[in-house]
């Protein structure tokens, strides 16, 4: 079985398990909804400054809600010592990691895509004006978030306070991609396409994703087995 097929098997397993319980997706979406609602009360959606902050607000919601999904990624393997069986299986740690990262990415994207129209309504933002470019930023930002969240989920899986540790460890590392995603999203939801002065943030997102995906795939065996 090839590397990508191994990863695919893990992805299908994780998605199937999540769809049966819906514990991570439900809590993540409910959390996103509540925060979006609170933001709509906290900020006047017709103010120009609120429109300028739209990208930042949106990615704060995505980062917090995404953590709820990412926290479950390796924790899902704990109840029956399933992680032992996965580590014992003749698949590479990198395939296991990639499979889990893709499953997390699908779930994070699902929550984001459902939250986006809700955000548009609550914050009076016409988010569809630069839709393809917005999707590109969403994909790149979410992949960076997912990769970091998944590797740290593996690292903290046996820690008692992993729910607290995961955000503490991931958010500082996620500052560059979140800054990029916020900057780009604010412009895109305001109807401004990615211009030469903002394309640097797109490069930051791509660079971050490539570097941290490579580093995570390289390190995950050590993270899992020591």
């Amino acid at each position: 079985m090839g590397f990508f097929h191994q990863a695919f098997v893990i992805t299908v397993k994780d998605l199937r398990a999540e769809l049966r319980t819906k514990e991570a997706v439900n809590s993540s979406f409910a959390f996103a909804l509540v925060i979006l609602l609170l933001f709509s009360f906290a900020f006047d959606s017709f103010e120009e400054t609120t429109q300028q902050m739209a990208g930042g607000l949106l990615w704060i919601v995505f980062a917090f809600a995404g953590t709820l999904i990412l926290n479950r990624s390796f924790a899902r393997e704990l109840p029956n010592d399933c992680l032992d069986a996965l580590i014992a299986a003749p698949i590479s740690g990198a395939a296991l990691f990639l499979g889990k990262a893709i499953a997390n990415f699908v779930l994070v994207m699902a929550v984001e895509l459902i939250s986006l129209p809700v955000f548009g309504i609550f914050s009076n933002v016409h988010w569809t004006r630069q839709f393809p470019e917005l999707m590109l930023v969403l994909v790149l930002g979410s992949w960076g978030m997912t990769i970091i969240g998944t590797i740290f989920s593996a690292l903290t899986v046996n820690i008692r306070l992993r729910e607290v540790m995961l955000p503490m460890l991931t958010y500082p590392i996620l500052i560059p991609p979140l800054m990029g995603a916020m900057q780009l999203t604010s412009g895109l939801v305001a109807g401004t396409p990615i211009a030469p002065d903002t394309v640097v943030w797109l490069k930051v997102l791509i660079g971050f994703d490539v570097v941290y995906t490579a580093v995570s795939l390289f390190l995950v065996e050590t993270v899992l087995v020591g």
Partner: protein, 232 residues
């Protein structure tokens, strides 16, 4: 070549040495019972042999290979304290998943066969979270045997099993031994284990206190090894 060779293995938790210079071998087709009091290091040693943890010093070989090598992992079947199956998946889905991960030629057929062999065919499509404890244990046994491993590593395999699951496991272990497979099991259930074992290794505070063939005295009096080599 030994099926399992443990050579000078040390394992430290901080400064505390959980295993001290462990040297053990299990020949192909033999059954080695690892015995010892709680905290003696049996589980730590089995996890290192299975490749879940790396030793601080020393090395482990499975048919001459390092346990983390893909070919070595293909030859190992492990039953630990947990059942290592997913509550949210059905019995069939669990076994098919492991069949795919072990790259079996027909994961569906293998899953169906082992569900029948462990008496779970009737509940193949049932979610594991709805299973009784005994059924979950039998599914764990099926999961460990699914890929026909050459080396079986069993950590207290008879603990918490119902009588039907014990019978299933004992039958499968006898069949495995008859097929020339190697078994290393840690256990507190000396009578069940010694009936199957060809060799015994006793761990005491992280060290091998005894390692040798299983003798008639041990089988007739399971406390014999503890009385002679343990702390009494």
């Amino acid at each position: 070549m030994s099926a399992v060779a443990v050579d000078g293995v040390w394992k430290f938790y901080g400064d505390y040495p959980a295993l001290k210079n462990i040297r053990l071998e299990a020949a192909r087709g033999s059954c080695l019972a690892l015995i010892g009091r709680n905290g003696a290091g049996k589980t730590t040693l089995l996890r290192i042999i299975a490749g879940f943890n790396r030793p601080g010093k020393g090395q482990v070989r499975i048919f001459g290979r390092e346990p983390r090598e893909t070919d070595a992992r293909r030859q190992i079947g492990f039953i630990g304290h947990g059942i290592s199956v997913y509550d949210e998946l059905s019995a069939f889905e669990n076994l098919k998943l492991y069949g795919q991960l072990y790259n079996l030629p027909d994961p569906r057929a293998s899953a169906t066969e082992w569900l029948e062999r462990t008496g779970l065919a009737r509940v193949a499509s049932g979610l594991v979270r709805e299973f009784s404890r005994g059924m979950r244990q039998r599914l764990a046994v099926a999961r460990a045997f699914l890929h026909e491993p050459s080396v079986l590593l069993l950590d207290e395999p008879f603990t918490a099993l119902d009588d039907k699951a014990i019978a299933v496991l004992q039958r499968l272990l006898r069949e495995a031994l008859a097929q020339g497979k190697t078994i290393v099991m840690s256990t507190h259930q000396l009578r069940e284990a010694l009936e199957l074992s060809s060799h015994v290794a006793m761990l005491n505070r992280g060290q091998v206190a005894f390692h040798g063939p299983c003798t008639p005295e041990m089988i007739s009096d399971p406390g014999y090894v503890y009385a002679r080599y343990g702390e009494g």
